[in-house]
Symmetry: C2
Subunit: 255 residues, 2 copies
């Protein structure tokens, strides 16, 4: 049985806050070995002071953007930009957020969410004496499917994949699905108890204790597919345009 519940009593987080202490105070004595905390990246960003004092969300997006992956202007003029951020994550708006942050500010993603997750896990293990894992989560859209789900952008002391390669099913046939991304599933499960309009940025997942491990386990960065193996590294229209230009140039260049 899996149990997922939100941590109550987390105050508004400000730059410089000791997030480990805030969580420990709110969680104790409820945490046990094998519990996994799913912490919304927003409060990690706030504690780390990753706040831009500007209303200019677009400028913040540009600053975080390494590469524009795809872009579309709706009939009404609304521009959707899917970009690759500094963290290698492909998502709309590079993860820059203008909600749940004071007016006149925008939030950037944490500097290094895996490092943040590890630090939180280490700090909570030491402070509370329980062997917990930490996921730093963010809300993302996805290709081909409407709406958003929460996924893992940081992980400390918790496996991000189950490795079922080489295992067989009940009838001895090799499993086809071999790498469940449990970190993303944990993030999604946690989102079901958080409320976007309320202050419930942390949830605890209990029931998969065997996923919790040493602090040097691979982080959520390992979930990102390398571009050379990504069949959708660039949007369809953008790829078509690149190809068109190259095709035209190839014919023009003929003697």
């Amino acid at each position: 049985m899996l149990q997922v519940w939100p941590l109550e009593g987390i105050p508004e987080v400000r730059p410089g806050d000791d997030l480990t202490a805030l969580i420990a105070d709110a969680a104790c004595p409820a945490l046990a070995d094998g519990d996994i905390l799913v912490v919304t990246s927003k409060i990690v960003s706030k504690a780390e002071g990753r706040i831009l004092h500007a209303d200019d969300r677009d400028a913040a997006i540009d600053a975080e953007t390494v590469r524009v992956v795809a872009s579309r202007t709706s009939p009404s003029g609304h521009v959707t930009r899917i970009v690759e951020s500094r963290l290698g994550i492909i998502a709309a708006a590079a993860g820059v957020d203008a909600s749940n942050t004071p007016h006149g500010t925008v939030l950037l993603l944490p500097e290094d969410p895996d490092a943040s997750a590890r630090a939180l896990a280490a700090g909570l293990r030491e402070r509370l004496g329980v062997r917990v894992g930490v996921i730093v989560s963010d809300t993302m859209g996805r290709a081909w499917r409407e709406g958003q789900t929460d996924a893992a952008i940081g992980a400390g002391g918790v496996r991000v994949f189950e490795d079922l390669r080489g295992q067989t099913d009940a009838e001895g046939r090799p499993l086809v699905v071999t790498m469940p991304c449990v970190a993303d599933e944990l993030a999604s499960a946690a989102d079901l108890v958080k409320r976007k309009a309320a202050r419930l940025p942390i949830a605890v997942v209990r029931g998969r204790a065997e996923l919790v491990g040493d602090l040097d386990l691979p982080g959520a960065r390992s979930i990102i597919r390398p571009a050379e193996r990504d069949l959708f590294h660039t949007g369809s229209a953008e790829s078509y345009a690149e190809g068109f230009a190259a095709g035209a140039a190839s014919v023009s260049a003929r003697p």
Copy 2:
């Protein structure tokens, strides 16, 4: 608090089995109003006889494929084909499955997973007298991220999205994330208690009772983004190739 647990006592499912009866027998008296059952599409396919008596997984994939979205041959010669299936779902191998099915057979996706989900929800409501919702789930890879997660391919009597459009956060700012895909998050949460190598194809999620509603709510088909609004409707390499051919042709056609 959210609770997720697997249903024990589901036997091997065979074509023609009454899935409603099997679930009701295994679940009673544990289900309550507002519970959401997440049923792996495999057993829906089995009950519906969606079994091809052939070892030819590739032929089955071709039969279910409407369009090849992207394709890649690894250095070792392994071919990955991302296709759009008859159901509009974009995934590797069109959802055809050669595991957890008897040797010499492959499983196709259900004919109409939304209809299956609705029928299960209706049947369980009538048989057990509890107002439950049903998600039919399948395991899928995704763009840009390694590994697989479970997502909803059918839904009956349960909302697939939370609609937060127009809502504000604790500080009065409009929410940026407005359409959590709760159906996919429920599927992912359920996957955390299922074991791919064991026979645990159904899980119950309790704690989001307000998501359960009338049987005529939109199904999981509404999660699929229409191709004309999908920035990744075709793979990068395929789009480039199309553009190249068109660009070359456009120059060649000049007088």
